[in-house]
């Protein structure tokens, strides 16, 4: 499950040398294929965005 962390925890994870638990990656695609919608969905699931700011709101467009 996606989790929200407080800044201290994030800082700790960045400084941690347990590199196996890190992933640095990019989402790439042709224009409009849905990269931002996908990213926003993940952020929203993590509680990092108010739900109506991400994907589902777009149901109304």
């Amino acid at each position: 499950m996606v989790r929200v962390k407080n800044p201290d925890e994030i800082a700790q994870m960045v400084r941690s040398t347990a590199l196996e638990n890190k992933r640095i990656f990019s989402i790439v695609a042709h224009i409009d294929h849905g990269k931002t919608t996908t990213t926003d969905y993940l952020l929203k699931r993590a509680g990092l965005m108010s739900p109506d700011a991400a994907g589902e709101l777009l149901l109304t467009d």
């Binding site: 640095i24 990019s26 849905g34």
Partner: protein, 703 residues
């Protein structure tokens, strides 16, 4: 696996209504800048930290993709199920897996459209998805044949779903949950998207693919270093980087400048490859050759820096405290002379330009400052100043890129912007005559000839295999082995500028070094605006074969050198059968069956060449090449011919000789715009600098 929506603790990261920090992005509904998000995720009892770059898709902003990839280990390729693999899908696969060695997984998005809009049967949907997987795999193979990478439904490296409706799965997840894929169709039939969202939430397959199939820095970095760092892999530094040693020598790269849309504050974003970056400490900028201090350090979270005083190897960072162009290598102060990272490779070169000038002429310098800043953030744009008109000429990949750029600049300095103009190239197509000229004071002489650079060398420059900055011997070796250069000549390259090369092939010409920088700067001027119409050159090799330089420096000033060098370059170029080349776009149009006839007839009128016609169920896909100059009203024509039902992509695809019948008219059109005399330039114009006789007796120039 249970999912929950955590409640937000109150901290700076979470108080957001919408994510995009950028007015322009929100208004247009497209991504312009890459943004970095941090996510943490529990999977099988382990806690993971993700640093995710959401990149733009429009070709105008392809530079942002290249820069994000330089810091990444893996990539989620995303393909619209309805549109399938398009031009920028290919460009991005090339950049990601080919250039930057980021391991891929695939997410096929918008599957809802196949079901709801196209009303395809499960079998047809299956076929469509298989086709996309095949297309993606053949591109991965094309650009990274040595990696053996591929994506597959069976291995769980392909997820399908709908980001808009919030569901998705990989085959293994579907099996674990015992759900039959036909259920998806039923749920859509009944309008029960909520069921899908709750029972097949999209984060599960995505996060699982990322954890299981994308490499950690530890796995990815050794191979990545081999690709992006040309130094000795077995040196202390090479080992430290391959081993991601936080206690090793500091080696980091600036991959992006984040210019805050509101405050305009510049944050440098990059990745630490070895050692540890610390706030408050001094660092050395290898290319700029200076020391700077890191004032604030942390990680980027969309538009905020989350402060972290120490960032060890294997992480992205964000720092504040100084400016430098994207691509800079950062090391510890005592590491002068270390080999820097190879430059970031970009997918396209400038083909359109605009002229901008401040409304208030007093603000020219201030304008220059902002232009420089934005161009250092995105080197796919270039600028130069036109001394006569006091304008900045900005060039870029696409009109949209320039539009966005000028909007940004206009926020700081009010400017007047000319309409976008296509930038042609001036290309020599045969070897020109060796021309000897003298300076205006007749005390210096030079002998130069111009010839077309061979295509292999041009390609090596474009790919960044050979660069201006690299080690001379190394470069000579590559040119000799791969492009058949004479070894001596290859070692005597003075300058690589764009796709042009200046060579000193003199034998012991005395004092030539004294005027070297003047010759180089004139060669650069020549390459920025050549003889036909002051358009930039492409593939020019200029060879100096002899020179006489006066002993007294008082007689070898800049304007003396300029008069002989420019005359020699211009005359020799005119004898090298120079032609205008025009930028070409590769286009890719997918249109419903029945409308392809109209699309083809539009393309034919636009001087396009059709490369391939492919039938896919109810759609026809047409790929071809079209001159950029012919695309102005193309979009409207295509829309009305297909009632808006076709979609397309395009990307720059090099330059092609303008048809003979159009050459002279186009040259005159450009000359007129630039206030140059309305006639074909002639060697005779420069004859006053010819040596020994001030008279041109060779052929006149014609097309």
């Amino acid at each position: 696996m249970q999912l929950e929506n955590s409640s937000s603790p109150t901290n700076c990261l979470h108080a957001r209504a919408g994510r995009s920090s950028d007015e322009e992005e929100r208004k247009r509904g497209i991504t312009i800048f890459t943004s970095v998000a941090l996510l943490s995720y529990d999977y099988q009892g382990q806690n993971y930290l993700f640093q995710l770059n959401d990149t733009p898709g429009h070709i105008s902003f392809t530079g942002e993709v290249s820069r994000a990839l330089r810091g990444s280990d893996g990539v989620v390729l995303l393909v619209d199920a309805l549109e399938g693999v398009m031009t920028q899908t290919e460009t991005n696969i090339r950049l990601a897996v080919g250039e930057e060695r980021c391991k891929p997984v695939l997410f096929i998005n918008k599957v809802d459209r196949l079901i709801k809009e196209l009303r395809l049967t499960p079998k047809e949907v299956g076929k469509r998805l298989e086709q996309i997987a095949m297309d993606v795999n053949s591109l991965i193979k094309k650009y990274a044949p040595d990696t053996g990478w591929r994506v597959s439904f069976q291995d769980g490296t392909i997820a399908i779903g709908s980001a808009k409706h919030g569901w998705g799965f990989t085959i293994d997840i579907l099996k674990e949950k015992g759900i039959d894929p036909k259920v998806i169709f039923e749920k859509y039939e009944k309008g029960e998207e909520k069921w899908l969202r709750e029972n097949l939430p999209l984060d599960e397959p995505l996060l699982r693919m990322i954890v299981k199939h994308l490499p950690s820095p530890k796995e990815a970095q050794p191979e990545k270093i081999r690709r992006i760092w040309p130094g000795d892999q077995d040196s202390e530094l090479g080992k430290a980087m391959r081993g991601i040693d936080p206690d090793g020598p500091l080696m980091a790269m600036i991959t992006k400048l984040f210019i805050h849309p509101r405050t305009k504050r510049v944050v440098l974003i990059g990745r630490v490859f070895s050692g540890t970056l610390r706030a408050g400490e001094q660092v050395r900028l290898l290319t700029a050759k200076r020391l700077e201090r890191v004032q604030r350090l942390g990680v980027m979270e969309i538009t905020d820096i989350l402060d972290i005083p120490e960032i060890p190897a294997g992480n992205l960072f964000a720092l504040y405290g100084f400016h430098c162009p994207a691509g800079e290598t950062i090391v510890a102060p005592d590491m002068e002379g270390v080999t820097p990272f190879v430059e970031i490779k970009y997918a396209a070169e400038p083909v359109v330009s605009i002229a901008i000038k401040p409304l208030n002429p007093q603000e020219l310098d201030k304008l220059g400052k902002w232009v420089k800043l934005w161009v250092s953030a995105d080197p796919t744009a270039q600028f130069r100043i036109d001394e006569e008109t006091k304008e900045y000429i900005l060039s870029g990949i696409d009109p949209l890129q320039l539009e966005i750029l000028t909007k940004r600049i206009n926020e700081m300095v009010r400017i007047k912007v000319s309409p976008p103009i296509i930038v042609y190239r001036e290309v020599p197509t045969q070897r020109g005559m060796e021309v000897q000229t003298k300076s205006n004071n007749a005390l210096n002489r030079i002998k130069i000839y111009v010839e077309p650079l061979d295509p292999v060398t041009v390609d090596l420059i474009r790919k960044g295999v050979i660069t201006d900055k690299m080690d001379r011997k190394e470069r000579a070796k590559i040119l000799h082995e791969k492009a058949g250069w004479d070894s001596r000549e290859a070692r005597r390259i003075w300058l690589i500028y764009g796709t042009n090369i200046l060579v000193d092939n003199t034998r012991g010409a005395q004092r030539l070094d004294r005027i070297k920088s003047y010759i180089e700067s004139n060669f650069i001027d020549f390459c920025n605006g050549a003889t036909l119409a002051r358009e930039p050159t492409l593939g020019v090799k200029a060879v100096i074969t002899d020179a006489v330089v006066h002993t007294d420096p008082a007689h070898t000033g800049y304007s003396e050198v300029r008069s002989m060098v420019m005359a020699a370059l211009n005359i020799s170029f005119l004898t090298a059968r120079p032609r205008l080349y025009e930028p070409i776009l590769r286009i890719d149009i997918t249109t419903p069956i029945g409308t392809e006839g109209q699309v083809m007839s539009i393309l034919n009128k636009k001087r396009a060449t059709i490369k391939q016609i492919q039938h896919m169920e109810d759609l026809v896909r047409i790929t071809g090449e079209i001159p950029a100059a012919e695309t102005q009203d193309l979009v409207d024509l295509l829309r009305s011919a297909t009632q808006g039902r076709c979609f397309w992509g395009y990307e720059p695809s090099g330059f092609r000789e303008l048809p003979k019948a159009m050459q002279v008219d186009k040259i005159m059109e450009i000359r007129k715009r630039k206030g140059l005399p309305l006639e074909l330039p002639q060697p005779k114009l420069y004859e006053k600098n010819l040596y020994p006789v001030e008279k041109w007796t060779g052929p006149s120039f014609e097309i």
